[in-house]
Subunit: 133 residues, 2 copies
Amino acid sequence: MVNFEKAGGLIPAVIQESGTGKVLMLGYMNAEAFENTLQTGKATFFSRSRNKLWVKGESSGHVLKVHDVLVDCDEDAVLIVAEQVGSGTCHNGYQSCFYRRVQSGTLVEAEPRAFDPDAVYAGVAPATKTRQE
Amino acid sequence: MVNFEKAGGLIPAVIQESGTGKVLMLGYMNAEAFENTLQTGKATFFSRSRNKLWVKGESSGHVLKVHDVLVDCDEDAVLIVAEQVGSGTCHNGYQSCFYRRVQSGTLVEAEPRAFDPDAVYAGVAPATKTRQE
């Protein structure tokens, strides 16, 4: 169904918000993370920096409730349509991790900040604040 | 602006259709492909199988005209909002490469076929028909 071996064990997973169609983030899944996503209905990634499974929102409460799972033609990328619980996906306080656009050779903010990351991640160890928590 | 080195030279690029918000495909870009995308306004990828730059649509005519380029918080993934010229993105004849969904443990078609790939890719060498052409 998905060819994890071809891609060295990890495939990119695009998260798209149900309803709005907004692309929220891109993470990586190994076979176990993909299976966990299907079984629990919560988007689960493999953290390359911490070398372990990571249920998105386990620190912040901002879980991604899975509505639909699509697989691409080459079976080496997935698209997860999900409901964003809480005010946003990005650890920097934005709805989407793609909150900046390229404009005249530089990056400019493309959406307003949606929440205060210091409040949401209060008490969370710095290492787990990164997107690849 | 984008950290290609961190990811070993290649970053994933998500293509989202302008207007509809439909996620059409995921490809990979190296620094040169990204620069070419910005300069020409046509989504350009690096083909891992052919080890060269690949302007999407150069065989099929189905180019992706870039409207917006967004970069994620970690600067190792990009989201390209683009206009799909022609009837679809996928070399299998669908609007989106993500044309199948996971349902009851198997893959089922999630959208109707949009065009006949044999007609669109007539005369194109088989090796260039793959998504990673």
